[in-house]
């Protein structure tokens, strides 16, 4: 490490302190809430002392144990949260696979052509990428009501795929550009059509890029609130809008722990995802930057 020479102790201590402070800020809320979701409301929102959320005296009094699954039972069974979980599974799987299908084709074309329309498509995609999603939703609602396709899962899926496309083709375009053109050109000299060259010569070496882009498509579909909250009806709601509709009722009924449990249930899959795909997420976040 080049920075070892001229190493200064006060600066090293300062950076370490900043880092420690940041780690506590970044991670503490999640651990706290995951732990607290197994307590009763009187402990998680304790009027006496927040230590109660750690030890759980009221939980022991009310349920007999220091941990309780009441919140989860209420959310998953009583409020049928499993239904939204299943909708989220359908939406994310479909959005990710269709986005990748469209995106690899489009990104490949953009990376192998240097005409001016390529430039214009990429610029249009950049502008589309910047549009707040809710402004587009304002454009969907009325036509979708008229066509009677509002509220169904396929509608939300295709909309999310389209919203995802600008980002997907930009990212895949830069991944495809890192693959030498000689590869597909030699395949075409050997008699492949353009599509065969794409499928047989390029795709086998593109998997890392496809997995990284897929992760981000998944995250967009999973984290979306604007589109799914406005375009899906009550029965088809995915997890995030479902949790937001919990909020209206739990406050009055004193069942806020249902919302806490549902929130933890929706956040934990993301922790696991980051744990397994950390390297891909980091490379994906920087992929756009490398190109400048």
């Amino acid at each position: 490490m080049a920075t070892k020479i001229g190493y200064s102790r006060p600066l090293a201590i300062a950076t370490t302190l900043v880092l420690l402070l940041w780690l506590i800020l970044a991670a503490f809320p999640f651990f706290w809430t995951v732990w607290g979701s197994f307590k009763v409301q009187a402990d998680f929102f304790s009027r006496e002392s927040f230590w109660n959320a750690l030890t759980g005296p009221a939980t022991t009094r009310q349920t007999g144990g220091a941990f309780t699954l009441d919140g989860y039972r209420g959310a998953w069974i009583e409020r049928e949260f499993y239904h939204s979980v299943w909708n989220t599974v359908i939406v994310t799987v479909c959005v990710t696979s269709i986005s990748l299908l469209f995106g690899t084709l489009g990104g490949y074309a953009l990376s192998r052509s240097s005409r001016s329309y390529t430039f214009w498509i990429l610029i249009a995609a950049l502008v589309f990428r910047a549009m707040p999603h809710i402004t587009l939703v304002a454009g969907y609602l009325l036509p979708f009501f008229e066509m009677n396709i509002w509220g169904h899962l396929p509608t939300a899926i295709i909309v999310l795929v389209a919203i995802n496309q600008p980002f997907t083709i930009w990212m895949l375009h830069s991944f495809f550009q890192s693959i030498p053109k000689d590869l597909d050109e030699s395949a075409m000299v050997d008699g492949c059509t353009r599509f065969q060259a794409f499928r047989l010569a390029i795709m086998p070496v593109m998997w890392p890029g496809v997995i990284t882009t897929g992760l981000f498509s998944f995250l967009l579909a999973y984290n979306d609130f604007a589109v799914t909250a406005m375009l899906l009806n009550q029965d088809n709601q995915t997890m995030v809008p479902k949790i937001s509709s919990f909020l209206g009722t739990v406050q009055t009924e004193g069942t806020i722990m249902y919302a806490v449990a549902a929130t933890v249930s929706a956040a934990v899959p993301l922790f696991i995802l980051v744990m397994f795909f950390q390297r891909q997420i980091v490379s994906g976040l920087t992929a756009g930057a490398v190109k400048g």
Binding site: L136, M230, L270
Partner: protein, 343 residues
């Protein structure tokens, strides 16, 4: 690549973007020129024991029929853009001609819903963007110096605020800053003020949202800067050290110039993402003290009785204009580069 091949490869993606991004923009533009129908009124003569009276009533059947016949509503031109809920042209004129000084002008304009949303959106965007870049850079420098074995777990924990769904992340923090929650209770204890509540005053709500935004966006800046630090030119650093540059001078004159292109990229992405700030306002239930442009659109569309499509569409168009203005430096620069390459 031949034109035909290009066209067939790009077709699905281009069609999706055309149908569900370009057309909705047109649809929003059209909708913004229309406004909801007035209710159809009819005069009914009702005769009782004390003579006959003519009453004016709403005719629900005729209103519904009119709505089905012309779902867009009635044509309103630019009326929606100019009314009180949007650009409020006549209200602003009145404020400017009749006021008690600059502070009063600002206060009165802030009370107009569109300007209230716009001011929060701009303050949020232009504070969160530099703040998260600064914190992200500091964290990247910190992670760069720790032993290799800690890097994996540290990056894992640092990514969480960015990856977790914005609505869920803001809810988690909202529960913690509740006066019965851990952060809220600790703040009350630190400031020895049992009445302290982050939700009560507009200023504290704004601060909360901006702190949340920085917390949420820092990991992105951190990861990109950290990746940039891995490609630092070692020989430049070493020669700077031989020349007697201390650590701070090395950061200032070697590391920062090396990261400038990355910083432009991070800044651009952060501007785009922060400008659409929306979920935290729902998560923190902050709409009484802070609204954003995206939230206003959502609120119009989510009306329990009537969905105000015209109003939502007008705000959407104004928001899009804002996005274009925000992006224009980048677009102009890219266009110049493209022209230069073409010649």
């Amino acid at each position: 690549m031949r034109h035909r091949d290009f066209a067939s490869f790009i077709f699905p993606s281009a069609l999706a973007m055309l149908l569900f991004i370009a057309l909705p923009i047109v649809s929003v533009a059209v909708q913004s020129l229309f406004v909801e129908h007035d209710q159809v009124l009819i005069s009914v003569e009702s005769c009782g024991p004390f003579g006959c009276q003519t009453e004016t009533k709403v005719d629900p059947a005729a209103t519904a029929a009119l709505k089905t016949a012309q779902p867009l509503g009635k044509f309103n031109g630019l009326g929606t853009y100019l009314n009180r809920a949007h650009l409020a042209v006549s209200e602003i004129g009145e404020i400017l001609s009749n006021n008690d000084g600059v502070a009063d002008i600002v206060a009165q304009i802030y009370n107009l819903p569109f300007y209230k949303a716009l001011s929060f959106t701009l303050v949020y965007t232009f504070l969160v963007t530099p703040l998260s870049m600064a914190v992200g850079f500091a964290v990247a420098l910190g992670v760069n110096t720790i032993p290799r074995m800690f890097k994996g777990p540290v990056i894992f924990l640092s990514l969480l605020p960015y990856i977790v769904t914005p609505l869920l992340g803001s809810l988690i923090l909202f529960w913690m800053i509740n006066s019965d929650g851990v952060i809220g209770a600790s703040l009350q204890w630190i400031f020895a003020d049992p009445e302290l509540s982050l939700k009560a005053s507009p200023v504290l709500t704004w601060v909360t949202l901006i702190v949340y935004g920085t917390w949420h966006m820092t990991p992105f800046a951190f990861v990109v800067f950290y990746a940039g630090l891995q490609t630092l030119p070692k020989d430049t650093l070493e020669s700077a050290m031989i020349d007697g540059a201390n650590r701070w001078e090395r950061i200032r004159y070697v590391v920062m110039p090396h990261l400038t292109p990355l910083a432009t990229f991070v800044g651009l992405v952060l501007l785009m993402d922060n400008f659409r700030v929306f979920e935290p306002i729902i998560g923190f239930s902050a709409e009484a003290n802070a609204t954003s442009l995206s939230w206003s659109i959502y609120n119009d569309l989510n009306g329990q009785v009537d969905q105000l499509f015209g109003s939502a569409a007008a705000t959407s168009i104004l928001t899009m204009i804002g996005v274009i203005i925000l992006l224009s430096p980048v677009l102009v620069r890219t266009w110049r580069e493209f022209k230069r390459k073409a010649h």
